[in-house]
Assembly symmetry: C2
Homo-oligomer: 216 residues x 2
C-alpha cells in the first residue's frame, strides 16, 4: 500500500515517514521536491543504521497525492486552506487529517473553524469522493522522531466511510505500540482535535514533555 | 476537611461519597434529606464491611453547602441552572464541577452552553467569591461505585484560583490511584468537559465499558 505524506518534510511529517516506511511504500511530498528527496535520503540512512528495510521516495506534494492510495495531510492548520487549494486528484483517495486547529495564548486553546473541526473543513475543501478520516492527532512530533522509543499511546480515529476508517486503523496499529480506537463519525472529530491543546496545557502546567494519552 | 456533595444521592455522587469518606468528612446533600440519610446509612455499612472507617452525613443540598469547606456539584448539566437557583452561601467555598454538557444523538456530542463550558456557566451563576474548579469529569459512575476496583486514571483539574486548585488536586490524589494534573485555567475547561462524550463514543464504538484516560 502506498502512503503519501503532504508536508512530509515538516516537523510531524518527517518522523511519520520514517515510522511508516518499514511497513508501507511511503511517498514524501513537499512544496520543493528536492527537499523531499533529501529528507528521504537521510531518513533511509537513519533506518538502515537500525537494520530496518524501508521504502521512501521524495516528490512534490502533488505527486505524493497522485501516486498514493492514502494521503496524510501533515500540515499546520493555518496552511490547510492554502495548500489544498494548490492540489487536486483526491477523488477516491483515503485522506487522513492529523490537523489540530489551535492557538497559543497564555495557554493553548482549541479554535475550530466554522465547519466545527479541521477534518470537517477538509471535507468541505476536497471533492466529495475523498474518503476523509482524522487520526494521529495527539502524537507529538518529537515522539514520531524518537525512533528508539516505543509509542504506547491510544489513537482515536474518526470517519464517515467505515471501510476507509478500518484501513486507517490498521495503519495506526502497525506503528510501534500505537493502538487505534474508533471514535465515531467526522461530526465528532472536534472532540479528538481538542485533545492536543489539552495535552499541551497538561505538559506545560505539570512540567512534562510530549504528553500523550491512553484510553483504558 | 469537610466535603459537601450536592446531588450526593445521584449516580455519580453516591460512589464519590463512599470513595471520599475514608479520608474526609463527607456531607451528602439531596433535595430530600431523608434520602441522603438513607444513602449514608447504606454507604457506611458497605464501607464498614470492608474494614474502612468513614464519616458520612446525609442532609439537604443547602445544608451540604452550608456545612462544607468544599462543595462538589454532582448534578447533571440539565439541572445545573435550576439547582443552583435554589441554593445560596457559596461565597469563599471551593466549588468543584464534574459536570459535562453533552447530548446523546446517534453518538455523544459535546454541547457547551453559551459561556463555553459547564464550569464557566457555574462561574456566572455563583457569587464571584466562589472558588470554582473543574475536576473528576471523566470518572464514570460505575467506577466510583466499584469500591474493590483501583482507579488508575488521570484527572485534569482546571481553575483560576491557584490555591483552590492545589487543594482540589490533593483531594483527587487521595482517591484510589487517581492522579491529578493541572489542566490550566477555567477558560479551557471546555477541553476537559469534551473528554467525556469522546470517551463514551470510544466505549460505544469499540465495545468497551466505562473507558477512562491516562496522560503519559
Amino acid at each position: 500500500m502506498k502512503i503519501g505524506i503532504v508536508g512530509g518534510t515538516g516537523d510531524i511529517g518527517e518522523g511519520m515517514a520514517m515510522r511508516l516506511s518499514p511497513f508501507f511504500d511511503v511517498i514524501v511530498g513537499s512544496r520543493e521536491a528536492d527537499k523531499a528527496e533529501q529528507t528521504c535520503k537521510l531518513g533511509s540512512e537513519t533506518l538502515k543504521k537500525r537494520g530496518l528495510d524501508c521504502s521512501l521516495k521524495g516528490v512534490s506534494n502533488q505527486s505524493a497525492v497522485d501516486d498514493a492510495d492514502i494521503v496524510i495531510l501533515a500540515i499546520p492548520f493555518k496552511h490547510l486552506d492554502g495548500t489544498l487549494g494548490t492540489l487536486h486528484g483526491f477523488e477516491n483517495k483515503i485522506v487522513v487529517s492529523p490537523v489540530n486547529p489551535m492557538e497559543k495564548r497564555d495557554h493553548f486553546v482549541f479554535v475550530p473553524p466554522a465547519e466545527g473541526s479541521a477534518a470537517l473543513l477538509i471535507k468541505r475543501l476536497l471533492p466529495k469522493e475523498a474518503r476523509i478520516c482524522s487520526a494521529f492527532n495527539t502524537i507529538a512530533a518529537n515522539k514520531w522522531k524518537a525512533l528508539d522509543e516505543e509509542l504506547t499511546y491510544s489513537v482515536p480515529v474518526c470517519g464517515d466511510d467505515e471501510e476507509a476508517k478500518r484501513e486507517v486503523m490498521a495503519i495506526v496499529n502497525k506503528v510501534s505500540k500505537l493502538q487505534a480506537f474508533d471514535a465515531g463519525p467526522l461530526a465528532v472529530s472536534s472532540m479528538v482535535e481538542a485533545l492536543t491543546p489539552l495535552l499541551l496545557n497538561i505538559a506545560r502546567y505539570n512540567k512534562m514533555r510530549d504528553v500523550g494519552i491512553q484510553f483504558r
